[in-house]
């Protein structure tokens, strides 16, 4: 599974770093390191919806507050 977090300026200002850090922590905690590949991208063209995160190409809007629920619904069951 490939997860890409937008780290462009707009998403960065909305908390992309916190999103990346929490995702890393959650992936490690759930021992999904072998199954999930985490990457970054500069701008996905949907700056209004940031922080933008794609899961196998499908785009989602995530915030530092909603990372855990996003992980539980979109990543954990599918990985």
């Amino acid at each position: 599974m490939k997860i890409t977090v937008c780290i462009g300026s707009s998403c960065h200002l909305k908390g992309a770093r916190q999103v990346v850090e929490q995702l890393q922590w959650l992936i490690n905690k759930n021992s999904l390191k072998d199954k999930v590949e985490l990457g970054g991208a500069f701008c996905m063209g949907k700056c209004q919806q940031g922080v933008c995160v794609t899961v196998d190409g499908e785009i989602h809007s995530v915030s530092p507050e909603s990372v855990t629920s996003f992980f539980e619904s979109e990543i954990e069951p599918k990985a």
Partner: protein, 475 residues
């Protein structure tokens, strides 16, 4: 209002802008020969002896705006017919000499080069003895002794400029480091940096038609440019031109600060590798020191490599104040990551050629790097960042660095270090070819005393306060 330091910059801008406009409209091949007339339409000369010479020079400028002389590997090129063949006689006694009794000039000259006319008693300089020290000029109470040197030769600290048999400036490519100092200093605009904006326009056109994304990597010195618009508006304007997004080279600088600090601890002595003109200068003049040059990519290279690792088909264009970057992007270690480099002057020309009014744009944010990455733009910033990187990584290392402001200072530091002169026990040499650092670069639109403060202010605006936090995003 566009703001330029000199009329030469303004003329260069007009040429770049017109060439870009024609290329964007897809009619450059048809209108190419008309461009000089488009820029100077009337029959009255505006800056030279006649309109024909003006247009002949403009044709050469158009050629340089389109990539210049393909046979010359240097990006800095002399326009022979634009060179005013300035006097270069060195120290000369002028008619202001009153033939006084004091003869301070004679007393000041340690070489015995001053002699006097038996009739009028005025001073003369024996050129076979004169070493151009200038002492006679300093002591003359009538300021009667002046120095005639060419501004290009004065500007060229690596001493790469000589005078050819036709009296034109001649660049020795084996000495030139492409710093562009002569480009900015020649009052006749006879030395120019080749422009590759046509490559950039081509990439943007292809991207518009579904081709690869084009990323703009901008140098932090952009903070002191574009005085008439906000930085956010410039970023928005660049996106409107067709750049997929704009990324701070300063984030690459954060990466470099971490990398170079580790390398420094490992090797014990390091020369910085950020400034391509400094790297070139060190290699050409102190080959025995070359092995100490950091193996890190420059900030531009580092961030471009990261961009390409995530978007392999993409194109990356670097935009900064630097002419030497145009050489660096063609090096085989950098070429895979950066596709083209252009200056702020060229960016200004492109923004206007695309018909973008920056002052009416919404603000688009630009925030990727930390304070430390951003202050690389001014002299001393790199040293500060390396010190911070050591601290953040809890590495015990007694950093003893020197920040060299301009080629002359680089030369002094490299010389002292190579000879182990007492006091030169530095373990880190930050070399910046341009005075003040990148903010003094020849491709800047403005070179003001406030630039350094603006860079620091811009640094403080960064959301990330530490290098580690800024770089932690890059997974």
């Amino acid at each position: 209002m566009r703001k330029f330091d000199t009329k030469v910059q303004e003329l260069k801008y007009k040429v770049l802008r017109t060439v870009a406009e024609e290329a964007i409209a897809g009619r450059l091949t048809e209108t190419l020969l008309d461009i000089p007339k488009m820029i100077i339409p009337g029959k009255t000369p505006t800056m030279r002896c006649c309109i024909y010479k003006e247009r002949a020079i403009l044709s050469e400028r158009v050629r340089i705006a389109m990539g210049g002389d393909k046979k010359n590997p240097n990006v800095i090129q002399v326009i022979d017919i634009a060179c005013d063949e300035c006097p270069a006689a060195g120290y000369e006694v002028t008619s202001s000499c009153r033939g006084c009794l004091a003869h301070r000039c004679e007393a000041a000259c340690r070489k015995g080069a001053i002699f006097f006319d038996n009739h009028s008693h005025v001073a003369h300089i024996d050129k076979s003895k004169c070493v151009e020290c200038g002492m006679c000029s300093k002591v003359c109470p009538y300021s009667a002794i002046v120095v005639r040197t060419r501004p290009c030769q004065n500007a060229c600290k690596p001493k790469a400029i000589s005078i050819d048999p036709d009296n034109h400036a001649l660049i020795d490519n084996s000495k030139c480091v492409s710093c562009g100092s002569c480009v900015y200093q020649c009052p006749f605009g006879a030395i120019m940096d080749k422009s590759f904006i046509l490559n950039v326009i081509d990439m943007l056109k292809k991207s518009e038609n579904g081709g690869p994304h084009v990323y703009a990597v901008v140098a932090p010195s952009i903070s002191s440019q574009f005085s008439y618009a906000k930085l956010g508006q410039v970023v928005a304007g660049m996106k409107q031109m067709g750049f997929h997004t704009v990324v701070e080279a300063a984030l690459g600088a954060d990466m470099v600060a971490l990398g170079e600090s580790k390398e420094l601890v490992e090797k014990g002595f390091l020369l910085s590798s950020c400034c391509p003109a400094f790297v070139d200068y060190a290699k050409k003049n102190f080959p025995e020191m070359a092995k100490h040059i950091s193996g890190s990519l420059s900030p531009m290279g580092a961030i471009a490599k990261y961009i390409k690792s995530n978007d392999p088909s993409s194109k990356v264009v670097f935009i900064g104040p630097c002419t030497a970057k145009k050489v660096e992007v063609r090096k085989e270690t950098v070429a895979p990551y950066v596709d083209e480099a252009m200056t702020f002057e060229e960016l200004q020309a492109l923004i206007d050629a695309y018909g973008i009014d920056l002052t009416s744009m919404e603000n688009s944010p630009l925030d990727n790097a930390s304070y430390y990455g951003r202050i690389f733009a001014r002299c001393g910033g790199l040293s500060d960042a390396v010190a911070e990187a050591l601290k953040e990584q809890n590495i015990e290392f007694a950093l003893n660095g020197t920040a060299c402001d301009g080629i002359e200072a680089c030369k002094t530091a490299l010389f002292k270090k190579s000879k182990n002169v007492p006091g030169a026990d530095w373990n880190f040499i930050e070399g910046m070819a341009c005075e003040g650092g990148c903010i003094g670069g020849p491709g800047c639109l403005t070179h003001g005393p406030k630039d350094r403060m603006q860079v620091d202010a811009y640094g403080r605006e960064a959301m990330e306060k530490t290098i580690k936090d800024a770089v932690s995003l890059l997974k």
